[in-house]
């Protein structure tokens, strides 16, 4: 697709520029931003450089480390799926309808971001544990336990990471022009079809961004997960035990593995979600 045949439009590069370029401002922003970038990248590079080839090879041969990694990835995927199923409808409500207490609901959605994760873990344990008001009936009826199980890990991950999905999806829905939905209705689509064929696809990017963030945040979760499920061990918990029990070198080797796998997945996921052309919506 070549440039739009709209002779009146400003060139793309000119749309974001202020009338005069504030070079001094940009310079200062570059310096401060560069400092921040270095703050993020340098420790990760240092981590990657720390373990010797031998200890990396040893870590890669450790079966329980791979198990922990796999568990982390699976649990995070489940958490992201549940976040999508429960969070996207809520985001749609927050974006498209007005109801009493809407700002309260929005604040509740953000609450997990403000709760320390160990605190979240303990709170979840109280409700989901064997004697908890949800945990007891779940165990009795479905045989579903949360303490020391995959379900518990998923619950802990979901609690701390679902706000990313809800908030991103909400922004996505709010960005869909309501007039497009109206037109779809006049073209004969009912409310459900309009939602599924127009609104949801148009909010797709934001929803996928939210799910990606939820997924990444779930993989990295340590505090809440550890309280609900010390065993089976997720990768962050396993790395912590290595750090405490075996020392920095082994912990660093395991960390590099986790970092490499989760970065690779993160990049793959983003490419799958945004990479291949979805036509006019993508940037040229």
């Amino acid at each position: 697709m070549t440039a739009a045949a709209d002779p009146g439009a400003k060139p793309r590069w000119a749309r974001h520029l202020p009338p005069s370029h504030p070079h001094g401002v940009f310079l200062v922003c570059w310096l401060l931003g560069g400092l921040l970038g270095a703050f993020i990248v340098v420790p990760l590079l240092a981590l990657a450089a720390t373990p010797s080839a031998a200890s990396l090879a040893a870590a890669a041969r450790t079966a329980d480390l791979w198990q922990a990694l796999r568990l982390s990835l699976e649990a995070a995927l489940l958490a992201a799926i549940v976040a999508g199923l429960l969070g996207v409808p809520l985001a749609y409500l927050l974006a498209r309808s007005d109801f009493r207490g809407k700002s309260l609901v929005a604040a509740i959605v953000d609450l997990p971001l403000a709760v320390p994760h160990t605190v979240a873990g303990i709170a979840l344990l109280l409700v989901l544990g064997r004697d908890g008001i949800v945990g007891a009936p779940a165990a009795a009826i479905f045989g579903l336990g949360f303490w020391g199980t995959l379900a518990g890990i998923v619950a802990a991950m979901l609690f701390v990471s679902v706000p990313y999905t809800v908030n991103a999806a909400r922004i996505g829905f709010e960005g869909v022009d309501p007039r497009l939905e109206k037109i779809a209705r006049t073209l004969g689509l009912g409310p459900w079809h309009t939602c599924l064929r127009i609104t949801l696809p148009l909010a797709r990017r934001s929803i996928l961004t939210g799910l990606t963030l939820t997924y990444a945040r779930s993989i990295s979760e340590f505090g809440a997960v550890m309280i609900l499920a010390y065993y089976p061990m997720t990768a962050p918990v396993r790395i912590y035990t290595l750090f405490v029990g075996s020392g920095l070198d082994e912990a660093a080797a395991a960390s590099v593995m986790l970092l490499a796998v989760s970065l690779a997945l993160f990049i793959l996921f983003r490419r799958l979600a945004f990479g291949n052309g979805i036509g006019a919506m993508g940037s040229r």
Binding site: M1, A5, R185, T186, L187, G188, L202, I278, G279, A280
Partner: protein
């Protein structure tokens, strides 16, 4: 395509602090109605109510001879177009049009997608996405998409307001051709007078959710019913006057200390009655002499302001009251007009529209007698 009447009867609806008040109008098959009004008058709400997006408190809506008052938008059989044409950005042109073709509850369309694309000259665009289309192409795709559902009524909300003047004029021409050949009634909302005059057969003016005037476009623009409409349709001079006499169809009106003769057969009305005289700036002639020859009034005037506006010159005259005039710049140059010049302002009787103020006299005979006694 069902050729059927579109009727809105006694439509009333409350939306927060805003209300639509007993709107009553109809659109005949093939007719184009323009709804005009200032911001907040309820134009878009009226359109959306016809489309089925608001629940009425009272009233009845008939589209294509079928009552649709209680039907949801998807079952009203209408085509809706917005200012940026509202193409679905994630779908190709063909898929955009296809949305309307695959309707579960509708009869099969008479035309296939390929025929529609060919008819509107957009077959070559079928696989493109909306972002890669020019405004003219977007309009044609939006029309094709609406047409695909064989609507009984087209609704347009500010169809051209996002466009530059040239494109606007071109698309207006395209749209008119399209609507005339489709033969489907259309209602469009605009606040642009040119759009309304160029496209509409009839105009309806809204204010605060109520109809203040409706009628053929030319009539509404030439003979506004009240001061609000006169201002809205662009009368530059709205002068307070008093009826000073009548002979036949010619009314003599006193404005400040000048007497102006106007043709006002519509005002069969009493002596000393207060009126508004409405005169467009471009309907006033400038003469070097203050004395009239032939028909029409000639006012003694002095030039107060001369403002160059390209091809035209905007002039303010002092005739005992201020009078806005708009003349060809060439004409002003040839007359050698300067500030302070004493000239004559000519008014053909037909150029002045008279609006009576307040309730008219109840008895036309008494009114006539009153008038003749002046």
């Amino acid at each position: 395509m069902t050729a059927g009447i579109v009727a809105v009867e006694n439509l009333s609806l409350r939306l927060g602090a805003f209300a639509l008040k007993q709107l009553d109008f109809a659109v005949a098959p093939g007719e184009i109605l323009a709804i005009l009004g200032p911001n907040g008058a309820g134009k878009s709400v009226t359109l959306e109510t016809i489309a089925g997006f608001h629940r009425l408190d009272r009233g009845r809506i008939t589209i294509g001879g079928r009552e649709v008052t209680r039907l949801p938008p998807e079952r009203r059989n209408i085509g809706l177009l917005f200012q940026d044409f509202g193409l679905f950005p994630h779908l190709t042109v063909a898929a955009n049009i296809g949305v309307g073709l695959r309707r579960p509850r509708r009869r099969l369309p008479r035309r296939s997608l390929a025929e529609l694309l060919a008819d509107l000259g957009i077959a070559h665009l079928a696989r493109r996405h909306p972002a890669a289309l020019s405004p003219g192409e977007k309009q044609r795709v939006a029309l094709a998409r609406a047409l695909a559902t064989e609507p009984d009524l087209f609704l347009f909300d500010e169809p051209f307001s996002a466009l530059d003047a040239q494109t606007r004029e071109r698309l207006r021409g395209d749209l008119e051709k399209f609507l005339r050949s489709a033969g489907v009634p259309a209602i469009f909302v605009t606040h642009d007078h040119d759009d309304a005059l160029a496209l509409a057969d009839r105009i309806m003016i809204l204010r605060d959710g109520a109809i203040v005037q409706s009628g053929p476009a030319a009539t509404v623009f030439a003979a506004p019913a009240d001061r609000f409409v006169a201002e809205f349709v662009g009368f530059d001079n709205i002068l307070p006057g008093r009826i000073a006499g009548r002979s036949g169809d010619v009314l003599t009106v006193a404005v400040a200390d000048q007497l102006i003769d106007v043709a006002a057969a519509n005002v069969a009305d009493g002596c000393a009655r207060a009126v508004w005289l409405c005169i467009r700036a471009e309907d006033i002639d400038l003469h070097p002499s203050r004395h009239a020859h032939g028909a029409g009034a000639r006012l003694a005037a002095r030039v107060v302001v001369l403002r160059d506006a390209g091809m035209l010159t905007r002039i303010v005259l002092d005739c005992g009251f201020p009078l806005q005039v708009c003349a060809m710049a060439r004409h002003v140059r040839e007359m050698g007009l300067t500030i302070g010049a004493e000239i004559g302002a000519g008014l053909m009787p037909g150029a002045v529209h008279v609006i009576p103020i307040g309730e008219p006299a109840t008895d036309p005979v008494a009114a006539f007698n009153d008038a003749s006694e002046c």
